[in-house]
Symmetry: C2
Subunit: 200 residues, 2 copies
DNA sequence: GTCTATATAGGGATAGAC
DNA sequence: GTCTATCCCTATATAGAC
């Protein structure tokens, strides 16, 4: 509009097209097995052209990670906002997490166990983005009526593990739907404490 | 003894030395980022020499996976054997799993989310080895007094996810010990049903 | 059995034309 | 901004000497 440049051809600009394409491929094949040539080809460009937008493959990863974590954090905050009961918040959070994680936008590969061994310096950035998201979860868990001998940090990590692992077994065409996977987990965990997940 | 060949130099034969070394490196850096050169170097051989024992990197992976799953299955069976109460069995299983997963032998990277895109044919072999182990868990879970609205398959997958995810956050030098990580998870899950894990 | 040497392929990244 | 062409490195794997 302002510049008069028509970006509507792709619906998004080239930068974002590359990010979206990369996210999808990283998600499908993993970072290591996705080549610059793969990304370029899928985005309808030639390899050299990518370097106009990003100075390295690692930088593409950083952008995908950053956007992905923002999507996840936003979804989490929006999901818990309407609720007061902490178990309801946790359920809403689990549902949101599962849905973002398992939908096919491909943005959530980045909860993968290992980063592509970035330089330590950049790893700090990734860790900070993750910590921000985990803080949201930690706050909800802090409000739960957990038994004294439950470690809330380990509770959070095992909660996230149970959800994230679904990436390895979830199939879109059969079995439980993403939102039900989230609900199921909280049902398992909550019956230990309140009996049911229902707004008080 | 029988052949008179002295294999005591390394404590194990070359074949097993390569397997052990590979397991450790795969565990530390992942399959993709571990090169044949890395393995050879760590094992004190030159790259070409590996091909006397294995015809490809993929074949090394298959052997590591096979041995690793055997270690895990054996540990699981041994752990649950002394118990009668199903929740005690599950706890014993969780403890055994965590210990094998998180010790530093490095054999357990293979619970990683993705296989190194082997040929479909060989993937069948890997899946069979995993299914065998999961059957042990499924049997124990089948004996639990779970609520009617709990899906025992999803329960198993979320249980395994919570445990396997510890690979991403466990640190040998701080935090909870492996066996306590296993116990903690079952405590969370069991209090939903029996109150405590204790032999009846 | 282990080594040296190398074939062959694919990767990330860059220079410079257009 | 995108393409062509290519550099350079690293990877797996092999052939054949020892």
């Amino acid at each position: 509009m302002l510049t008069g440049v028509d970006l509507a051809t792709e619906g998004v600009d080239r930068f974002q097209l590359i990010v979206n394409t990369s996210a999808k491929l990283f998600s499908e094949k993993g970072f290591d097995r996705t080549s610059i040539r793969d990304i370029a080809s899928a985005a309808g460009l030639l390899p050299g052209s990518l370097y106009y937008y990003f100075k390295s493959k690692e930088e593409i990863f950083l952008e995908v990670h950053s956007q992905g974590m923002k999507i996840l954090s936003d979804a989490a905050r929006e999901a818990i906002a309407p609720h007061k009961d902490p178990w309801c918040k946790l359920e809403a959070l689990a549902v949101a997490h599962s849905q973002v994680l398992l939908d096919d936008s491909g943005f959530m590969f980045m909860v993968a166990a290992r980063f592509p061994e970035c330089i330590a310096e950049q790893n700090q950035i990734l860790m900070k983005q993750r910590d921000e998201y985990e803080a949201i979860i930690a706050e909800v868990i802090g409000e739960l009526d957990l038994a004294a001998d439950i470690d809330s940090d380990v509770f959070r990590l095992q909660f996230l593990g149970a959800l994230n692992w679904a990436q390895t077994w979830y199939r879109k065409d059969r079995g439980m739907a993403p939102k039900d996977i989230g609900k199921h987990l909280v049902k398992i965990l909550c019956s230990a404490h309140n009996g049911t997940v229902r707004e008080k």
